[in-house]
Symmetry: C2
Subunit: 334 residues, 2 copies
Amino acid sequence: MVTIRDVARAAGVSIATASRALHKGHLVAPGTREGVQAAADRLHYSPHRGARSLITSRTHSIGVLLPDLYGEFFSEVIRGIDQTAQGAGYHCLLSSARHGGPTLEAALRSMRGRVDGLVLMSPEFNGDLSKRALPSGFPVVLLNCPPSDTAHDSLTVANYEGAHAMVRHLAGLGHRRIAIIKGAEGNFDAAERLRGYRAALKESGLAFVPELVMPGDFSEAAGDAAARALLRLDQRPTAIFAANDGMAIGALYALRDAGLRVPEDIAIGGFDDIPMARYVEPALTSVHVAISVLGERAAARLFSVLEHPADRTPSRETLPTTLVVRRSCGSRGT
Amino acid sequence: MVTIRDVARAAGVSIATASRALHKGHLVAPGTREGVQAAADRLHYSPHRGARSLITSRTHSIGVLLPDLYGEFFSEVIRGIDQTAQGAGYHCLLSSARHGGPTLEAALRSMRGRVDGLVLMSPEFNGDLSKRALPSGFPVVLLNCPPSDTAHDSLTVANYEGAHAMVRHLAGLGHRRIAIIKGAEGNFDAAERLRGYRAALKESGLAFVPELVMPGDFSEAAGDAAARALLRLDQRPTAIFAANDGMAIGALYALRDAGLRVPEDIAIGGFDDIPMARYVEPALTSVHVAISVLGERAAARLFSVLEHPADRTPSRETLPTTLVVRRSCGSRGT
DNA sequence: TTGTAGGCGTTATCAA
DNA sequence: TTGATAACGCCTACAA
């Protein structure tokens, strides 16, 4: 491994001079700079970022901690974060904590000294855990986290409003038995979407029917299973609101498999509007979330925290959602 | 930031003793260890990984360099890599080089001293560039790269065989005008899949018809556009082989939009068998690639290189593909 | 069993 | 304009 020492020796200068020559904006004789530059090129020198960060205490990378890595939602979030990070000259150190529990704490520890800040997405309800694990004063942006933690900047999606709009729309189409396939237990987004569902039912003068509430976990398989269970009901629903698109697509699959037509026999709506939503058949009505923008925004906010570490009052931003009507819910959609 | 110095002071021992006490397997008096441990816990100490790696010259993280981050393919690859990495106690430093060109070299430089090795996916044809940019002796595993580089371990998908099987299958169903929507220009996977297409045509006694070869870039939009172009042909194809599922799904969308039925009017086959493939309507016949396994395997191989840095002869492994027949191609499929 | 001291590769602070 | 030299936080001979 070629170090700056080798470069300095090859150029016939001291280490200090070599270091200065390699950075612009320092006082170095033009000739010296050229010589050092040439030596560096010849030796294919590139600085050891770890060593550099030890003294500058800036790593130029951020940690990205996600609950899982499966599916288009996370993939889009990562894409947004990475895009912004790359634009700012940062790298992303990835970590998924799909096992839950102590992993968050462990993941945080293992990132100490490797990242300048953190984008943490953990929609689980154990808010105090994160507070305990998070080094106070460490720049963190929370993504889709319950609002319990007010010590950090956070970003959320308008879950309640989105779900509300979706269910209102379904009710407006005349549906009176509207089922919901819930998101994962203990998940903040899931809880908010359920809350929106209940509120919209009420406003529409519809009763909340427990048997129309199916458990789920955001996976296609869960949507599939939930839809099959709904079909076994004595009184089937005429519309299904799945708490995310993955489950909606799973449900679509199950209904088709059962020989039912969507939306003629049963209408379906999803949430997130993942890229795939418009391509399934029938195209999926969904609550649009600018997923990659969510990632971009989170990264941008983190960088702003990194720039101004002090006297910032933590902000909580909610990304708006919009209802996207397509064919799967039966009204005139694309 | 609490350092080991603080812990040592709090425990009333020297830095060296503190360091030893925090690692197991060192000779430390039981009482001392407890005291240090207690102090560390109390102070919420966690070691600065950057500083540690400076002396151990192991960062316990690997670089993951991908051409892009969009779509389920990359997302699944990342998932596979991360899973294996996490199991081995490693982190993933992510970087996408969607701008091409000098970025690869820059990305590599920026990772120097931050990663122990690299998983590099770059199916573009400029093989010599990577050879120039890659520090010789640096552990690298190549993913889906052209075979030009024999200095590094590499992993590929059986592109040729998969495409071949798909087209043979279509021909076997009686199709005589089989179109292809190609992958990105200058892409190795794309070229191999085209080669498989041509070979299968030949073996099936079918002529290679240039007008049935549409350009593409692996995106849904490209598949959509290509399908529309094919429909404008005087003699339409009766089957379309898209070089990946994203384009196949885009094509599906276009055909539906044009009022055609799949597979009755036109059959469609894709490649990759992304998770979504089975959920579209009609379910997509595709060439199955164990995408996340590809990532897992790449990571595993990299770790094996990290374990045995010397005297390893670079291996080139090809991941097999299998044809998955579903309804979109017209034969009895799921 | 513990402490002292040197060094990993860089950058930053001082004199010269 | 340049060169010693001291950090940064940690680990590890070596000595005590």
